[in-house]
């Protein structure tokens, strides 16, 4: 990798390092806090009684089944909603900050006057987004693995790894969507609005639609369903689940690069 290519990747990574470290710190703190409550939760019977009184569909919709097991506890408190949402939000946020926001603020002007192609600049920024989402995933894994033995929370490394990879890919799917929108049109509000809408709508489709018989089939349209419906903390993950997230993520990113390279660059 030559200096120019490296700069096109590391420059954007440096540009969002504060935000990246903040995201990483927040996710780490969330994992630590959640894991810290496991001993108290494990011994509590009143919570199980409460959950048992809830309709089965609602319990499943919110990932509350088997809350007394380590996998059920982590699913219900972290991996069913919270962490995937944070990863999706981080992916959208990084993508928006490094593309649409920068362009909208007029900060692409000097950069694109250098001997670099528009494609290479956008690709470097997309790679930086991927790298930060990857780092978030890695930080989550390290903190989770470091904390679990302290409180006696036992979860298989392979299950945890596949769950985290799926959460990371879900983040990249939404980052790819944000990059595609930014490639089409440099409006930060559009990138954030559409990106977050798709994330929240997908989450609701995957969790709530299965409760309703007529809507149940539509749940399979959600990326959240592709990622997490197989309960990866408990069951081995089928290979296609990785593929249906990774392929659109890369495809949307390439679409963003293509669209950006063909359009005018917005002035401040």
């Amino acid at each position: 990798m030559n200096r120019r290519t490296l700069e096109l990747l590391l420059g954007p990574m440096r540009a969002v390092r504060r935000a990246g470290l903040l995201w990483a710190g927040s996710v780490a703190a969330l994992v630590v806090m959640t894991v810290a409550f496991w001993p108290a939760f494990k011994g509590s019977t009143s919570m199980y009684d409460l959950i048992n009184q809830m309709p089965q569909g609602v319990v499943q919709a919110f990932g509350l089944q088997d809350l007394g097991t380590p996998a059920g506890y982590l699913r219900g408190n972290l991996y069913a909603f919270l962490l995937p949402l944070l990863f999706a939000g981080a992916g959208i946020g990084f993508a928006n900050s490094l593309t649409a926001s920068e362009e909208d603020a007029g900060r692409f002007e000097i950069l694109l006057a250098q001997p670099v192609s528009h494609r290479a600049v956008f690709l470097g920024r997309a790679a930086a987004v991927y790298a930060w989402v990857g780092l978030l995933t890695l930080v989550t894994a390290v903190v989770q693995l470091a904390c679990d033995p302290v409180v006696g929370l036992s979860i298989g490394l392979d299950r945890l790894a596949s769950t985290l990879v799926l959460c990371g890919l879900l983040g990249l799917f939404h980052a790819g969507l944000a990059l595609a929108i930014a490639g089409f049109r440099a409006r930060p509000s559009t990138v954030l609005g559409v990106g977050l809408f798709v994330a929240v709508a997908g989450c609701n489709m995957a969790s709530l639609f299965p409760i309703s018989e007529p809507l149940k089939p539509l749940a399979h349209l959600s990326p959240w369903d592709w990622a997490l419906a197989g309960d990866p903390l408990v069951n081995p993950t089928e290979a296609w689940r990785y593929a249906v997230l990774a392929v659109p993520a890369v495809g949307l990113t390439l679409l963003g690069i293509f669209l950006f390279s063909r359009r005018d660059v917005r002035a401040a």
């Binding site: 603020a105 002007e109 001997p115 063909r262 002035a267």
Partner: protein
């Protein structure tokens, strides 16, 4: 002064050709089929009021905007298809200057150095001293004038064949404007061609060899500064021994003549020769011809165009 002294070294090969360039934003026609050339080693002034289409043209040259019609050639290359090759040979100061808030001047120079290659820290320090730029401060802590100086430093830091400068002295004090003109002269002496887009007439008048004047997206005039100046109205006053002679108003180029006894006051457009020939046969006591400056020519062009 340096710029003028180098005029004999000019090469007529165009380094920039703009041919029928048009750029539309939805229904707005920002640039309407303009054509001009810039020769190698030339300082080309690109003049026009706000909204004339100057920045749009500059951004098309840099491939930041895609033309709606027409053709641009830079160093004989297409700025879109051969963008990397073109931009490796030129540097740019944008009109609307936005720099990354948290980066320092040094960090920006190093970052661009990694993209361009050929980064020379000694040249950077020399320019920082001349332009009085504090390279250790974050961009967000710099005033608009200091940010502009940093952008100039980044443009003059590399030995480019062409400098594209869009309103480069906005916010600079007179001392720095003078330093800028010196830098332009030095770059030109080193063989660079300079595309100087500005609405600061005095700056263009001092630096440019030729001028292209833009108004409402069309070229209303182009030529050397002298040619442009010759198109301007000159105020002429003549005092005669006796009353103002008949027929003076019919002299070619004179207009708006006012007679006050033995004193005649009018505007002259074009050559002064017909007037001098007429006056040579008359009892003239004294005569005053005010030298038109580019500003007057510029304003006249705008009035003509509007």
């Amino acid at each position: 002064m340096v710029a003028r002294d180098m005029s004999s070294r000019q090469d007529v090969t165009p380094v920039l050709v703009v041919d029928g360039l048009a750029k539309n934003y939805d229904s707005l026609q920002a640039v309407r089929g303009i054509s001009f050339e810039m020769r190698r080693g030339e300082v080309l002034g690109f003049l026009g009021p706000n909204g004339a289409g100057k920045s749009t043209t500059v951004r098309c040259i840099l491939d930041l905007l895609r033309p709606s019609a027409g053709r641009i050639s830079v160093f004989g290359l297409d700025p879109h298809r051969d963008g990397v090759a073109v931009r490796s040979r030129l540097t740019y100061v944008p009109g609307e200057l936005r720099l990354p808030d948290r980066m320092t001047g040094s960090e920006m120079a190093e970052s661009l150095g990694r993209l361009r290659g050929g980064y020379d820290p000694r040249r950077r320090d020399e320019l920082a001293e001349r332009l009085r730029v504090d390279l250790g401060r974050q961009n967000r802590q710099l005033s608009s004038g200091n940010r502009r100086k940093l952008a100039l430093l980044l443009a003059f830091l590399w030995p480019a064949e062409m400098l594209v400068l869009d309103e480069p002295t906005t916010g600079l004090d007179p001392l720095m404007q003078h330093e800028f003109l010196l830098l332009v002269g030095e770059a030109r002496a080193a063989g660079a061609s300079i595309f100087l887009s500005s609405h600061v007439l005095s700056e263009v008048q001092r630096a440019a060899d030729r001028v292209v004047v833009l108004r409402s997206g069309t070229v209303v005039a182009q030529g050397t500064v002298e040619e442009l100046r010759s198109r301007a109205r000159q105020r002429v006053e003549v005092w005669f021994e006796r009353k103002v002679p008949a027929g003076l108003d019919r002299v070619e180029g004179l207009a708006g003549g006012l007679v006050d006894g033995r004193h005649y006051n009018a505007y002259l457009v074009g050559s002064i020769q017909p007037l001098l020939r007429f006056l040579a046969t008359q009892p003239v006591v004294s005569m005053l011809v005010e030298e038109p400056d580019l500003e007057e020519a510029f304003l006249d062009l705008y009035q003509e165009a509007s």
